[in-house]
Symmetry: C2
Subunit: 210 residues, 2 copies
Amino acid sequence: VERGWNVKFFDVTRALFKDELVYPGDCHPSFIQEDRGNYLISDLHLSSHSGTHIDAPVHYLKKGPTIDKVPLDNLIGKCRVIDLHKTGPVITAGDLEGQIEGIERLLIKTSFSGTDKFVEDYPCLDRTAANKISDNKIRCIGIDSPSIESYNCTGEVHRILLATGCVIIELLDLSGVDEGEYEMIALPLRMTGVDGSPARVVLREIAGDS
Amino acid sequence: VERGWNVKFFDVTRALFKDELVYPGDCHPSFIQEDRGNYLISDLHLSSHSGTHIDAPVHYLKKGPTIDKVPLDNLIGKCRVIDLHKTGPVITAGDLEGQIEGIERLLIKTSFSGTDKFVEDYPCLDRTAANKISDNKIRCIGIDSPSIESYNCTGEVHRILLATGCVIIELLDLSGVDEGEYEMIALPLRMTGVDGSPARVVLREIAGDS
């Protein structure tokens, strides 16, 4: 938590390092630092889905936009955090009832925040929850678990969400934030043609609150 | 240029792709995409100083903070863009006279924005300019050229700036923005222990303006 320009920032990004939790089958991050005498520089090897990251629509939709084409407007603006750590592991439309109407960006806090080990029954959305989010025209949905969709999934939940242009943020760390309204800033790298990107995601109190 | 939440965003990040301008000696970005049938995923190979990027103090100061320790407050907040495209290539304290007093973050637009090829005489700061920025306690300085310091440099300009905790953004694309006051959001990846990071940098109009 930091204070600046009269507001408080919450960094909801997981630290990226070589032993960071990795989705089974994805590459492990590596940073190889070189001392060139006068300065240090590093070679970075990452997956497009390492650590806290954003899925571009093309991740699951062959003709969907790539990460560099995701509008900044999906990624920056008012956001609601809801706490469903007592729900699940499968989150349904019923669990979202009365909590997401009229909002544009949604982050779901589950029991996974603060966890360092991958488990197959991580919290995730089912198709009814995905349809409800899609029907509400939410343009960005984030979760603190390794994926928005169950392990060994078909991709249906991803496709329902991505088809409406909703971007998906996965593996956030929401352990330090409470339910409520924030401004979110979620910035992926501007990589041409890529299916996703590690991202930095920050929340700040809305000026005038607190 | 995009509009959202009643403000206009300017993306001042260079697109990252395999043929993006690279500082001599640094690795070329590569993205290797794999089609896993159900979805696409990519292996990313980057330098900590690829494309638009942020130098952490440890890049040139052995005991300086790493990129994950740079305060968000240095990276988010009011920012002034000044246009020095008619100056240089070497920018001196005199060129900054009367333009940087009382500000916290500064981006310098030079003749390099919009350029795709590396040249050895790119625009840069000399030690007098670095000292003036340091004396003014500016906490973030950005430039659109490949480095804040001349080619074949000693690192002195970097060290003067970084020693005061000022972070340095290099290789911005400021071709689409005019001189003036903005809010800057400059977010590197949260990589533990690394000397710098590719970053996404966005400016937005300050609410109430225009």
